[in-house]
Amino acid sequence: MSSPHQKPTGFLIGFSVILVVLVLIPFFVDLFYMTFLTEVLVWVLFAVSFDLIFGYTGLLSFGQALFFGIGAYSMAIPISKLGIGPIPSFFLAILVPMAFAGFVGYFSVRLSGIHFVIITLIFALIGSTLGETWTSLTGGADGLTIPFTPLSVGPLTIDLTNINTNYYLVLIVVTVCYLLLRRLVHSPLGKVFIAIRENEDRARLIGYNVKRYKLLAFVIAGALSGVAGGLYGITLKYASANFLHWGVSGHAVVYTIVGGMGTLLGPVIGTGIIMILEHYLVNFLQGTDLVIGIVLVFMVLVAPKGLVGLLKRNSG
């Protein structure tokens, strides 16, 4: 399904071109679109992290929103309640979701197939119910605002309230995560994940400790979802219990399916296209779920490998 033998030069050229375009964009478009673009990048990271667990390892997790939300709160709570600076908070936004993913994963990876879907959904539900109820900590659905003050690092001053600074920060983090993931899925470890997706029993019989690898994939995906959540908190300057809702995981499902699961490029393309579509549709139909739902059903039935799958079929 995926193509591990992509020509590396082709990837390098394509990747460099896109990166240059993304670096230069702030000089050409106005502020509104910068916010939008920043959000797209955040969701790209979220979708890619979901794809690692679903597309590569074959585990459909509706629990990613939990780690996304926890990531956002790991930014919000230390900064707004404990007075800890943004930089340590950012590391919290990686480590805390990772720890939670370890906990949830420890139980979840014992199950496969439908049961795995349901158990992750339940964990997510517990998370969002607690998030909505425990308002003194989370601010409930209204959320917590995150006050950012300009930050000096050596000679540089980083002001996260400036959207361009914010954008570049997100761009750097997402790019690094993307490259790490790319390295990961092409490594022997990535091959094990794919082997588990293709046939769990066989992977076990060959001698792999399937549970441990599933847990590993789950924790990595959870940590990356957490990073995405942290970046989302930085971008919107608040965190809300709504981030924890399992419907948020649904976004990642849609982006990944539309783009193409089991490829890293797929979720990127899917996120871009769907978010642009949503952006234009939202004024017409009082929302976008109708179209998104139809697109999703259509893709599942007609092109289960997503847009990337369609492209590959046509080109090769």
């Binding site: 109820t133 649904g250 697109v295 999703l296 599942v300």
Partner: protein
Amino acid sequence: MALIALGLNMIFGLLHIINMAHGVLYMLGAVVAWYLIDLTGNFWIALILAPMVVGVVGMIMERGLLRSIEDKPITTIICTFGIMLAVQHLVFMTFGGTPRRINVPIEARFQLFDLQYPLMRVVIALISIGVMLGLWFFLNKTKYGLWMRAVVQDREMAIALGIPVNQVYMWTFVLGAALAAFSGVLAAPIVYVDFMMGREILIMAFIIVIVGGMGNLEGSVLAAIIISLIQGVGSIFVPPAIATVFSLAFMIIVLLFRPQGLFGE
């Protein structure tokens, strides 16, 4: 209320399809009923007609969309999730976002110890029990019910024996959709009719089906009673949200130790 939630769960397990759109069908039942009551002014007509309408919707879903992917559980989850989003939004666009009320067809109340208890709730409970008994009879005592159970048990064998498996799938789905809608209509006078009302019920349905065991109807009934007891008794001591968390945690334990359900063999 507990009895209603479970009416729709019974088919869940039988289908072996995780139908994310099931809550939406429940909601659709209530919404269609609202329109029918608006039109005819009679709750009981709506109670009969709305499930039929939704049954047709279910038939279209099964025939048109799910047919080709029924053997791939993960794909059906995603597909029905898409259907859920689309239908929910469609209802939002036509029916509107504000909850509406259906008048209680039976206003009478009676004295229960020192509480005023609305008669309607008793009637709803009785109807639910009636439907469940009917369903039990249908599944266990009729030819078609036997076919349905056979298909659940061993699909290949059922085909080999000449059972029209495709037909059975379709009618099971239709029956499930209609039951969901029926519960929706029954619940409508108690709760408000709202395009989001399917969401929570979907979760309840999941819980009950998992705890009771997939495809195990008697298990579903028992599970529904247990879960609503946990919810109800729990709510006396702690806030309802925490009670929900408890029943969710209970479900995780069941999933881990008895994935076949509490009452599975």
